[in-house]
């Protein structure tokens, strides 16, 4: 029961602190998932982030359902999802009912000016940490730098996917689904077929 409440409450907070779409959520999810031991090691979360990105529907709902289900089955999935969507619903209903005025627009706009660069910084940290962990097989800790090997495969996969992501068809970038499926297939090729 405690885990279900934890899922609900933490995803409620994550929903409440997300501005401007799913990606802004990732640094918070990583921090909370590690603290609450929803995942066993640092970057396990990014396999799920990739899957959440590559499946239809809002990213927030996908990741809440995934982590909820893994930790507490259907009930967990249900309450994690409910938690992440509830702040949005409450706030928007209040605005719809009482008018835009309760949203002190000038303060909200000013706050957003500070929030956007912070979110960019936080996602950059995610990218730095994820690349480090992929390559060196251990999490990035500036106070205690260590390396547990070097994974050439993840470097090759990253470069190939990056190259493919630059391709544009009729001036449109390739969809995330395609890039995630490609990454998964390259994963099979390198980690399963070529060698362990």
């Amino acid at each position: 029961m405690k885990i279900v409440w934890n899922l609900f409450w933490n995803f409620f907070l994550i929903g409440l602190f997300t501005f401007g779409g799913g990606y802004a959520m990732i640094p918070m999810i990583e921090e909370v998932a590690l603290r609450e031991t929803w995942i066993s090691s640092g970057t396990d979360i990014y396999g799920w982030v990739g899957i959440a990105e590559g499946t239809p529907g809002p990213f927030a709902v996908n990741i809440a359902t995934l982590l909820g289900y893994q930790n507490a089955g259907f009930i967990g999935a249900f309450f994690a999802t409910l938690g992440v969507i509830l702040p949005s619903w409450i706030i928007l209903v209040l605005i719809a009912a009482f008018g835009k005025k309760i949203l002190e627009t000038k303060y909200a706009t000013a706050a957003l000016k500070g929030l956007r660069p912070v979110v960019i910084g936080l996602i950059s940290v995610v990218v730095i940490g994820l690349i480090y962990q992929n390559l060196f097989q251990t999490s990035l800790d500036l106070w205690n730098l260590s390396i547990k090997g070097f994974d050439y495969f993840s470097l090759i996969i990253g470069i190939v996917v990056f190259g493919v992501s630059l391709i544009k068809i009729k001036q449109k970038s390739l969809s995330p689904i395609f890039l995630i499926i490609l990454s998964g297939l390259l994963g099979i090729l390198f980690y399963q077929v070529v060698g362990i």
Binding site: G57, N62, I85, L115, L122, Y191
Partner: protein
């Protein structure tokens, strides 16, 4: 058809056919909500996006709640929200059961490792998109770099960093953009 039933099927469709959620949802919403059902006027879509952006939360749910409430009040907002979320919820549940059953399978592990390497590219694309929206002014550059340094050095304070960002934005606004703060 009752308004709530119409809301249900419209948002079910929007939820099922959007990948990545949020902004990716806007073209489909425009087609369904503005052109087909005429629930919103084109200029109201801009309003909806502006409000959703300046409030916290999941964009897709913000949109659905806004439209649902306009069309059929609180019940409308509940129906629209649940139906925009439902397809994703079901798809991920099915996927999770499969993944849970085979989580120790080396093939699944290989796929996940590949995705971990590839998702870096998606995150970099997201950063590029965000930078294009907010522009690299000196204020933004300083804030981006200090966020990176602080969170590399101190772990476990993401929520505080986000709150600080909002506060810094407001203080900066009060000092340097006084005109916009005059009532």
């Amino acid at each position: 058809m009752k308004k709530t039933t119409e809301l249900f099927f419209s948002f079910l469709k929007i939820g099922a056919f959007t990948i990545g959620g949020g902004y990716a949802m806007i073209p489909l919403m425009q087609q369904e909500i503005v052109e087909k059902k005429k629930w919103l006027k084109p200029e109201e879509v801009i309003d909806m996006v502006a409000i959703s952006e300046s409030t916290p939360g999941v964009l897709a749910v913000n949109f659905a709640t806004y439209v649902g409430y306009r069309v059929a009040g609180v019940w409308g907002s509940i129906v629209a929200t649940l139906s925009v979320v439902l397809p994703a919820f079901i798809i991920i549940l099915l996927l999770s059961t499969v993944l849970a059953a085979y989580s120790d399978n080396s093939l699944i592990q290989a796929i996940l490792k590949g995705i971990k390497a590839g998702v870096v590219v998606l995150l970099i694309r997201a950063i590029v998109k965000l930078v294009k929206i907010c522009k690299l002014t000196p204020f933004n550059i300083v804030l981006i770099i200090s966020t990176i340094l602080v969170s590399l050095l101190v772990k476990g304070i993401v929520f505080y960093i986000i709150i600080s960002g909002a506060i810094i934005g407001i203080i900066y606004g009060l000092i340097f953009a006084k005109e916009t703060f005059k009532a």
